[in-house]
């Protein structure tokens, strides 16, 4: 009986949270004078209508999954990485530089090198924040945000200066972008005519590997222990500071790899705005997926759908695509609130008692009322046990 109540309780809270997020978005849509239901319908159904929409969602899923995996590792290790945006850009620039400046080698050699360069750059960029946190106790929230702004400027400088496509200078348009990467460094497309590429396979494989790493290896255990209870972990012989830096570096590596795959699989040259908010969307995807790879993949699908859907509403209903940020922010706020409510034992007991009472009322009969009180007392006693 209790597990039924538990399930009902979780369902009720989740439903309330989802409604809250949808309502917050609806308020904004109402201000725009749009019918929220119609807009939501376009966002959620329009992209699913043809193969193009589906493949485009999958294209967005690749960076979302990778970034979210890194964020899940860092959150579970007790360090909040919100610098994925900058780490992606570092990954893009390192991968592009490797592809452009390395001598021409066969694809089997060059492509892994390029991807590793991207991951490494992201890892190094993130380690700055990890090191500052572990050694100097600098809040990683602030340092990663600052590193985002610094990375954006560095990225812009390299694309406008040393790495700019010489053709752009000749024509004089001066669009800040690199030359096209050599073909050997391209990730191939899966379906001809669609943009979906084999990076998707890499993302899914890595999701499985992250699960194995976090739950089936001693290193993963050490990271999770450092996150769940740093004092206990330290007592148990786990080097918490090392864990923090390692978790941050791993998170950065995933974000950097996401950038490397974006540039080699999708754009094939470094362009401005390539990270397009994936760093922040990744946080939402990770939280929505319960910080678990098995949840992150479907969650990435849902938010990929949202991204494409918002692009479509911009075209069809002229609702600015910034609407995605609104929904993502609302989702974050309602998820974390719902999580705390679900964990709240006291509230759950009240909910269970309320249901019990209602069940008895439905059954009728005055004699049962006394039993209801006894049940409530029993629930109280249960609560008093630690």
């Amino acid at each position: 009986m209790k597990s039924t109540y538990r399930a009902l309780y979780i369902f009720a809270i989740s439903l309330a949270a989802a409604l809250a997020a949808v309502l917050l978005g609806a308020v904004v849509l109402e201000i725009l004078g749009k019918d929220p239901l119609a807009v939501y319908k376009v966002i959620l159904t329009e992209p699913l209508k043809d193969l193009f929409g589906l493949t485009e969602i999958s294209v967005r899923m690749v960076p979302l999954i990778l970034v979210a995996l890194g964020i899940a590792i860092s959150f579970r290790s007790g360090i909040l990485n919100i610098g994925a945006e900058g780490q992606i850009q570092m990954g893009v620039i390192a991968a592009a530089a490797a592809a452009i400046y390395l001598p021409s080698l066969p694809k089997i050699v060059i492509l892994p090198l390029v991807l590793v360069a991207g991951a490494l750059a992201g890892a190094i960029w993130a380690s700055i924040a990890g090191w500052l946190k572990a050694k100097l106790n600098v809040s990683e929230l602030l340092s990663t945000v600052m590193l985002n702004y610094i990375a954006a400027q560095l990225y812009g400088f390299l694309l406008r200066g040393p790495m700019i496509d010489p053709a752009e200078l000749q024509v004089g348009s001066g669009t800040p972008q690199s030359v096209r990467l050599p073909k050997a460094a391209w990730i191939d497309r899966i379906i001809p005519g669609m943009r979906l590429h084999y990076g998707f396979v890499i993302a899914i494989v890595l999701a499985i590997l992250v699960y194995v790493f976090l739950w089936r290896t001693k290193w993963g255990y050490a990271l999770r222990a450092a996150g769940a209870g740093p004092k206990a972990a330290r007592y148990g012989g786990i080097k918490v500071e090392t864990c923090l830096i390692a978790a941050m570096a791993l998170a950065g590596a995933f974000a950097g790899l996401a950038g490397a795959i974006e540039v080699t699989g999708l754009h094939r040259r470094a362009i401005e705005g390539i990270s397009s908010g994936y760093g922040f969307s990744g946080i939402v995807v990770a939280l929505f997926g319960g910080l678990h790879p098995a949840g992150i993949v479907p969650s990435a699908f849902f938010f990929g759908l949202l991204l494409i859907g918002a692009d479509m509403t911009q075209r069809i209903m002229s609702v600015p695509a910034n609407m995605v940020l609104v929904l993502q922010g609302a989702v974050i706020l309602s998820i974390i609130a719902a999580k705390m409510l679900i964990a709240d034992q006291y509230l759950f007991e009240r909910f269970a008692r309320m249901l019990e009472k209602r069940g008895r009322k439905a059954a009728g009969g005055k004699t049962k009322a006394g039993a209801g009180k006894a049940g409530a007392a029993k629930a109280d006693r249960r609560r008093e046990q630690p």
């Binding site: 917050l24 904004v28 201000i31 725009l32 909040l80 919100i82 500052l132 100097l136 106790n137 600098v138 809040s139 929230l141 602030l142 340092s143 945000v145 600052m146 590193l147 702004y149 610094i150 400027q153 560095l154 812009g156 400088f157 406008r160 200066g161 922040f280 946080i283 939402v284 939280l287 002229s318 609702v319 600015p320 910034n322 609407m323 995605v324 940020l325 609104v326 929904l327 993502q328 922010g329 609302a330 989702v331 974050i332 706020l333 974390i336 609130a337 999580k339 705390m340 409510l341 006291y346 630690p386």
Partner: protein, 316 residues
Amino acid sequence: MNILTFIVNVLSIGIPFSVALLLASTGEMFNQRAGVFNLGCEGIMSMGAFLAFMPAHLLQNTSLAPYANLIGIAAAIVIGALFGLLFALVTVTFRAPQGIAGIGLHMFGWGVAGTLFRYFVGGVTGVPGLKNLPIPFLSRIPLIGPLLFNLNGLAYAAFILVPASWYILFKTPWGLKVRAVGTYPRAADTMGVNVSRTRYQALVAGGMLAGLAGAYLSLGQAKMFADDIVAGRGFIAVALVYFGRWNPYLILGGSLLFSVAQSFQLAIQVLGIRFPYEFAVMLPYVLVIVVLALTPGSVTRGPAELGKPFDREKRV
């Protein structure tokens, strides 16, 4: 060019630059003194900047134009209070983790401001903005006069706020309550202080100041609105609170230091010393990291319960 005019030039840009940071970090200081870490400051500033800009933009050629700025500033304060309330609901009532909640609030505020702006305005357009109000006599003091006594109303208000918030924090019963719920909420609770209510009040007050900081950005500083007008100033404001050790005067010093550093970089570029402007733009963000790294222990000397939700029912 002589040194004195150079310094005056730097300060005459730097001092007005500091106002938005000062307002936002004073608000954040009240939040953190009460034990709540509000990273959503950036998002609240976006909303404040947008709502302050809108009346000035819409009423430009109507008979209501003289009141547009006042309406906008009031709207920015109200939206700041509402966002503070939303943040309080999530972090105080539901006891959600504050860091992530702040990011959520930031994305929400930034998203709403961007959506409404793109839909109702579209492109970048200027507004008349706030006029400078020179103070009679004082503004005619050589050097200091034009620097300190020829600013707009919001800037004066921000500077008066520094001693005022010091007084509120350290000399009034409410200030004592705020500091108590941020340092030892259980003791405060035992003494009959309503911890949740005090934190709610501090968050609403902090939100109002963040909204006001946004209003200053769009009406006083840039005299226009763009999606990314805040450009990380909200996050810098949060860092300044650490740097300023949760003390209004030190926070004033911090905001001046930051904005003067920024205007110094601008002045150097004007002088013709060339270096890529990207590195100049980077400067304040690098400075934040350096400053945070060089003030070790600042985290331990802050409000003891900073970032921790208070659960009355929890056993000790």
